[in-house]
Assembly symmetry: C2
Amino acid sequence: MIPRKFARYLPILDWGSRYDRAALGNDLLAAVIVTIMLIPQSLAYALLAGLPPEAGLYASIVPIMLYAVFGTSRALAVGPVAVVSLMTAAAIGNIAAQGTIGYGAAALTLALMSGLMLLGMGVFRLGFLANFLSHPVISGFITASGILIAASQLKYILGVPASGHTLIEMLTSLVSNLGAVNFWTLAIGLSATAFLFWVRKGLKPLLRAKGLSPAMADALTKAGPVAAVIVTTATVWLLGLDARGVNIVGAVPQSLPPLTMPSLSPELLKQLLIPALLISIIGFVESISVAQTLAARRRQRIDPDQELIGLGAANLGAAFTGGFPVTGGFSRSVVNFDAGAETPAAGAYTAVGLAIAALMLTPLIHYLPNATLAATIIVAVLGLVDLSILKTAWTYSRSDFAAVAVTMLVTLLVGVEAGVSSGVLLSILLHLHRTSRPHVAEVGLVPGTQHFRNIHRHEVQTDPTVLTMRVDESLYFANARFLEDSVTNRVTGDTALRHVILMCSAVNEIDLSAVESLEAINNRLSEMGVKLHLSEVKGPVMDRLKRGHLLDELTGQVFLSQYDAYQAVLEQKDAVAEQPASAS
Amino acid sequence: MIPRKFARYLPILDWGSRYDRAALGNDLLAAVIVTIMLIPQSLAYALLAGLPPEAGLYASIVPIMLYAVFGTSRALAVGPVAVVSLMTAAAIGNIAAQGTIGYGAAALTLALMSGLMLLGMGVFRLGFLANFLSHPVISGFITASGILIAASQLKYILGVPASGHTLIEMLTSLVSNLGAVNFWTLAIGLSATAFLFWVRKGLKPLLRAKGLSPAMADALTKAGPVAAVIVTTATVWLLGLDARGVNIVGAVPQSLPPLTMPSLSPELLKQLLIPALLISIIGFVESISVAQTLAARRRQRIDPDQELIGLGAANLGAAFTGGFPVTGGFSRSVVNFDAGAETPAAGAYTAVGLAIAALMLTPLIHYLPNATLAATIIVAVLGLVDLSILKTAWTYSRSDFAAVAVTMLVTLLVGVEAGVSSGVLLSILLHLHRTSRPHVAEVGLVPGTQHFRNIHRHEVQTDPTVLTMRVDESLYFANARFLEDSVTNRVTGDTALRHVILMCSAVNEIDLSAVESLEAINNRLSEMGVKLHLSEVKGPVMDRLKRGHLLDELTGQVFLSQYDAYQAVLEQKDAVAEQPASAS
């Protein structure tokens, strides 16, 4: 028997023990469909990453099998995806020239580092790091990446040499080489692109109108890229277009994934540190949202920390078998799910299918034109481009809009790593800025009730000797000084004041900085002859306060409810007012 | 007449128009006391910053006058302070060698950059940036700086050459040079240190016991450093100790502050960018807390943004008159306040006193031993060292402790800039981590009331078809995914569920990421046949939600109170339960 603690790390033990013939049948069918779809996609993403086409196949075989063992999603299909491939090209492009041995080796190292980071985050339960990527930043980044990817593929459609990692570099490089456009390449590229767009938009309704079942129509639609590959490859071969300047995939080794050893040069490791971290986090975020979405449809559970381990294992697999960084892809996972995959075994069968392809079918793609692969990429990534997020964010709030806009602009104009990093930094800064000026309302008693409301919005009862301020935010270092300033400035000019009550009903947490600010407020008020009271302090906050000195030094009291506080303070005042009378 | 918008930037117009003879008398008396105290302190901090002694005097003259015009604090005394002088030495030490022209020029540039940054933060109201320095980070940094400063002065007490910017570098350098200790220097250094400690701890009680008034005892105590300067200078001169290896201040020019032009070399500006930013923020935080504390004692107001302008102007003054970065100092401000300074004019009179000193008294300090200045620094900064913050933070919370400990260790072992930066980064990360896993409680109805409480802590009433989750935190990007995971995972296994109510009474704010997570939750629940409802949504949060699509897509409703929500949902259930009965 395997102890439970191992079982936690091996979800396969759970579903594997209940695997039956029905599940096998469904998984096999899904695997066939996904395999057919993955062949052109894998070749295309290798091209996008700047690697030889077989790397795309290799990156889809062992990783998918390792994810089947360690991952928790039943339907996730792991392999090369567009955004991660783009980030791979950007990271390695600065270090080695495309086509060199160093380039391929760096891709392996990047997969190794990303795998180790994901594993580490999983084992130490650091998945929360992915939370720092806000939705606006991710949306902005993915949209900008889609545009960048499409722009990077134009050179294959036009058949001209071009280079550059930013949108402006790419476009200027393209424009300056426009004279070298190859007619045949352009003809193939444009027709493949037009065909694939039509397949995506027009084919399915047509097939449904012809009376095909939705599932059948869907499957035929997904086969579009395969059809494009077959037709254009045959055309190039039959017309001998490669001799007329059409770039083709060329000789691809017939081989199972090779055993490879990533380079461990310290210099390389250092250069790839930040890119590997960003690739890991972006890949994880993309993968987990696909996994959660699909799992919810069947009321299945996803364990984010175990997902990190599954993706980490997949990337280690890629590193040692000639691949490059991989993650759970959206389109392939949806196909897998829609095709009826029931368990991760479907992924394993897909891997077998791709292994057979790598071993047997590679001679068939010798004449496959790069323009066709570029067309499949362009059509796929334009689905990622969603400029409506700019409008949504603008309507919602200026700071969310700023996060989207900065992420998009920096990604397009500077690069993918700078884009993600600046988006993350900006969202953190904006969040801190927002919470650094919490809403602080002066409140008074609603007559006839025990409720207290904002004095500027309601007809309420107040007393010149009592000031009640309600803080609508947890208190921590970023807003501690603001509270100090607000209270001190409000009290300074008001010589009638004798009591300040801080109403803490919306304070969920309080850190040491805030406690020290409250102590400072208490001291300053004390020097002005004003007492500080607290009301409606939540349990966890009270527990914290008991650990500091504030409660010993507080000139006033802590009241359970604001009404109690107000009553008690008014009674004190009356008692003081009566005293001189009785003494005289 | 001067328009009001100018008056905002010139607080002098406010207090200047009401200046009278009584205020003049008080301000003049305070100025005399502060001038006497500032002479040795200014020389000492110049030594600490690695600059010639006159730079300390110059940095105390024009800056203090400019602050008098632009600052809002009545009692703040601006000039060189220990921590900022240490940071200056650390920043310039990497760029130029002490004693070179380049070193002095870099100090001017640093003051210029710091002045411009402070002015910029003031004009653009960016004072909130200072909030990122939490109390634990500041306390840890100031304590560690105090230790570093004391260690850096030991070489003057021992009379040996030594170097280094980290504690370990300094101590190893000292130890390796111990053979070269100069007896006379050590004798002067130790006796000055012992004398100053005794003045600080023992003299005041003694004077009070002899019947002196507290004010007089205080004034005499503050004059301790001046006495030490006079006695040791006379000793060196009379015994000719400078010929026996005692390092002395030497020739100091007799001059008013010179007009200087900071270097604007782009390379230098780039190197000093981060140090200048850190010096500005640390200086501002130190200054504003002194100003706030003193202002509260007299119910005066401090405007943080205007303080930035005042400090910015002071630093620009330092940059163009042979000084180095300055800020509001704690000890000198307290002396100024205690001596009865009523308006910033006291600062201006102090400046006049110091100008006279710079012009006339510098020949008198020719034989002043560096060891005496080092002794005044050591005694002053050991007052900053407060290791109890470690214990306070440990008792309060692990994350506050981590912030203190990391700031202290990194400051001591790596350097001041790395120390502050790592402290700030760590506190931000810990804050995000804390809020990334908000407290989410499952609640039920307390029987006989309309209150809902945690089902694990109270005897409450629940229904198997209804799940109510209360989120005790504002929802934003760092915890949006956690909420998704919590709800999805809780609902997945529970097939009886038909309604999920999110109780939002503690949600003060909600950003676009959180709204999109709520949409995702709504969709996933919808696919499981479960409705999502919201209850007790605050006004500002509701306003936000109305800007997005969530309310259109929500499968359930938004209820004013949790009790309404619970009742409505149970009625729906009864209605559904009755339907099949009536249909059959």
